[in-house]
């Protein structure tokens, strides 16, 4: 872990219960594991002065970002998390790389691993790619988003943010609003929140919210106004134009009328409601500027918590890899 002499007690205690070498999804984690990551993230956030200062826990290690999909904030968030803990980073993106020359993504990952990296952070448009990589690579694999399937660090940073404001997630009513069908953020939150005891409401137009969610035991709603008074937290998902081929709703205008969180809707919401969004936000579509910049919005805190959660993930996975 650290390079400190053995006489000095460690800055932070490694949780003995943590054994995972990979972070692939939240679906397979249990409540204790999720809590461990959140606790660790909170500790690291404090120790680094809100993710601003360095803490030399991962010096000498290298983190590779392997992104097959566009992303600035998640990529930078992982990079910063690695650097804050003293690790080196290296960037691979699919455009202009060997992938464009026909190399399979497994070969690309193995090549990177051969350069001596400790983590591969990967984002891809197809579900399951991190899982396939974890079967092929010896280093740790972190899922930064695999198609609509899962985005574990996003779900975790969302939960950390809620916990910071409410102390506990158990018993809270959390609504996920928007394009659930194509959203990995939605799925991560659904698994994470329900495991920690929240009441999850899945809200959006029927073309984007399948009745099968109800079969799985979740509350489904199509009218935001109906559920709003009950909600402690709203997580507003971005409408994903790039993932949809046939428009599941007639127009952006109509979507905003039915689902946008605006001043008028805020008046019907609880006094202490938290407004969250994974970003980037489409001002005027799922959220108005008044709400995005208002006192209930914790969107920017989410961003900071993202670094904390990713620091925790990198440190925990490295620790487990060392033990094995």
């Amino acid at each position: 872990m650290t390079n400190a002499p053995t006489a000095t007690p460690p800055i932070i205690e490694f949780p003995k219960s943590w054994t995972r070498r990979h972070l692939l999804d939240l679906e397979s984690l249990d409540a204790d594991e999720i809590t461990t990551i959140l606790d660790t993230a909170q500790q690291l956030k404090t120790l680094t002065n809100d993710c601003k200062s360095k803490l030399p826990l991962l010096v000498g290690k290298t983190c590779a970002n392997l992104f097959f999909e566009n992303s600035t904030r998640t990529r930078n968030s992982f990079s910063l998390a690695a650097k804050r803990l003293g690790a080196d980073t290296v960037e691979f993106s699919s455009s202009g790389s060997s992938v464009a020359k026909g190399e399979t993504f497994v070969d690309t990952a193995k090549t990177i691993e051969a350069m001596g990296v400790d983590w591969v952070v990967t984002r891809h448009s197809t579900p399951g790619t991190p899982h396939l990589l974890s079967r092929e690579l010896k280093c740790s694999v972190l899922n930064a988003g695999d198609g609509p399937h899962d985005h574990p660090t996003q779900g975790l940073l969302d939960m950390l943010t809620i916990r910071q404001h409410r102390g506990s997630i158990k018993g809270l009513t959390v609504a996920l609003v928007g394009d659930i069908a194509h959203s990995r953020t939605a799925r991560s939150n659904i698994w994470g929140l329900s495991k920690l005891g929240a009441n999850v409401i899945i809200c959006g137009p029927p073309t984007l919210v399948s009745p099968r969610w109800a079969e799985l035991g979740f509350e489904v709603a199509h009218h935001l106004d109906d559920i709003l008074p009950r909600c402690d937290v709203l997580n507003l998902l971005r409408i994903q134009f790039e993932r949809q081929k046939a428009r599941p709703f007639p127009s952006v205008h109509e979507y905003a009328a039915l689902y946008a969180m605006n001043g008028e809707r805020m008046r019907k919401a609880k006094d202490d409601i938290l407004i969250m969004a994974p970003g980037p936000i489409n001002r005027g579509v799922e959220i108005t500027p008044e709400v995005a910049d208002g006192p209930h919005s914790v969107i920017l805190e989410q961003v900071n918590n993202g670094i904390a959660v990713r620091m925790a993930a990198l440190w925990l996975l490295a620790g487990a890899n060392q033990t094995n």
């Binding site: 197809t126 399951g128 790619t129 799925r187 799985l216």
Partner: protein, 439 residues
């Protein structure tokens, strides 16, 4: 019927007696211990008297083995010409023999597609030189296989095509299918349609059910197949054409086929073994091995299909052999093509999951695997009646073995059943009374 012919094995002109085996011939409702006499490549007698056996008769001891007509497949992708990295006529032929097949129909989706007499002739000649399994050629339904205008069906028939199909592509143009069904009545050859509405399929990779929802996979909804089946059976009725629908994979398809059959309409249907034993839960591994077509569906569909093939609503079992090279299947679920190698596991799959469980018996299984497909395709096979070509398979119904794609004769090593232990193995495959495969 049409034989593909020459063998490079020495001509086995001496009579052959297969004895001590359990003869199963659905065409004569035979299931009993017996002896099969083959003379000059044809069945000469079942249970001949010893006195009638010529001096030079060779024998094969089939103790503990089943002796049945060789399997017949309604659609094997042989990938040659054009996609030899996936499979060749030779490698597919070997895989077929190892799977107990004596006749296969070769699909038209080669490059160039089989839409000209020259292309038909190429496949026939290549198959003859390979001297493996009998290969019958399916000609394209549409010119260039592009789904717009009829191919020269008459000329293709003259060149030796036994059926017409654009499979694995469906025929989205209803008017074209109707025209072709009508036109084909003069040739009395069947049209095979693989039912799928492309817009509803919408580039899905897995069955549109709970598993796809949880995993975030693009779904293939059952409506995409059901609507096409509805269209197919209605057109078959309207034209009195010979239409075979398949492979099917949904409860909806089974329901419609059952209903039109009960009204006396002549439509036949088939199913693939993977849809009879595996569910969409397999996709949880995200392994592209399980990206097959028709997709693995949920348990309810599997159960319905098992019942339907047991009671004969589904007439035939087809392997669904859709080989794709290692590199192609090594990709993620979106990039990887549909497909798997199935010729070498079909028989054992049916035994393991349907016969052993009591859902079917050997007589009905051989009927679906051999007799029925031969009848649907109008080719020789599926029977051990006196005078029939001696295309025979000897099956060891009790031998257990573990599926290992790397051991396949097929060039494709991708199997949905890799690692499974199956019961039932092909001991020998004979064509024209000649042994072309032996374990």
């Amino acid at each position: 019927m049409q034989d593909t012919g020459s063998s490079n094995l020495p001509s086995q002109s001496d009579p052959l007696l297969i004895e001590n085996g359990r003869i199963i011939d659905p065409s004569q409702q035979i299931d009993r211990q017996g002896r099969l006499l083959i003379i000059e490549g044809r069945v000469a007698a079942i249970d001949p008297n010893d006195g009638d056996l010529p001096q030079s008769t060779r024998t094969i001891d089939a103790a503990n083995l089943i002796v049945a007509p060789g399997l017949v497949d309604l659609g094997v992708e042989m990938r040659e010409p054009g996609f030899e990295e996936d499979e060749t006529i030779q490698s597919a032929g070997l895989a077929a023999l190892a799977g107990g097949y004596t006749s296969v129909l070769c699909t038209s989706n080669t490059s160039p597609p089989i839409d000209s007499p020259g292309a038909v002739e190429f496949v026939r000649q290549k198959a003859a030189r390979a001297a493996g399994v009998r290969v019958h050629v399916i000609g394209c339904l549409s010119k260039n296989r592009d789904g717009e205008q009829m191919a020269e069906l008459g000329l293709l028939a003259e060149a030796g095509a036994v059926a017409f199909s654009d499979a694995p592509r469906s025929v989205p143009n209803d008017a074209l299918l109707k025209r072709a069904l009508d036109y084909c009545r003069m040739f009395n050859l069947p049209i095979f349609d693989r039912p799928e509405v492309p817009d509803l399929a919408n580039q899905g990779v897995a069955h549109d059910g709970r598993t796809a929802l949880i995993l975030g996979l693009k779904g293939l909804p059952t409506e995409a197949e059901d609507l096409a089946v509805a269209r197919d059976v209605r057109l078959a009725e309207a034209t009195s054409g010979r239409l075979h629908v398949g492979p099917v994979s949904t409860m909806g398809a089974v329901d419609m086929i059952r209903r039109v059959k009960s009204r006396g309409i002549d439509v036949t249907a088939s199913v693939c073994p993977h849809n009879l034993c595996l569910s969409d839960q397999e996709l949880r591994s995200f392994d592209a091995r399980f990206k097959v077509h028709p997709p693995l569906r949920s348990e309810r569909h599997v159960e319905t299909l098992q019942q339907a093939v047991a009671d004969g609503t589904i007439d035939a079992i087809q392997s669904g052999h859709m080989p794709r090279s290692r590199e192609k299947k090594m990709n993620d679920l979106d990039l990887s093509p549909f497909g798997a190698a199935t010729l070498e596991t079909t028989l054992a799959t049916i035994n393991t999951f349907l016969i052993k469980s009591g859902t079917m018996n050997w007589l009905s299984a051989i009927e679906r695997l051999s007799t029925s497909p031969a009848r649907i395709a109008g080719v020789a096979g599926g029977t051990l009646k006196v005078g029939a070509v001696a295309d025979v398979v000897l099956i060891d119904p009790n031998r257990e073995w573990t599926v290992d794609g790397n051991q396949f004769y097929s060039r494709c090593n991708s199997s949905t059943l890799d690692g499974h232990t199956l019961t039932g193995e092909v001991a020998m495959t004979l064509i024209n009374g000649e042994t072309r495969y032996s374990r």
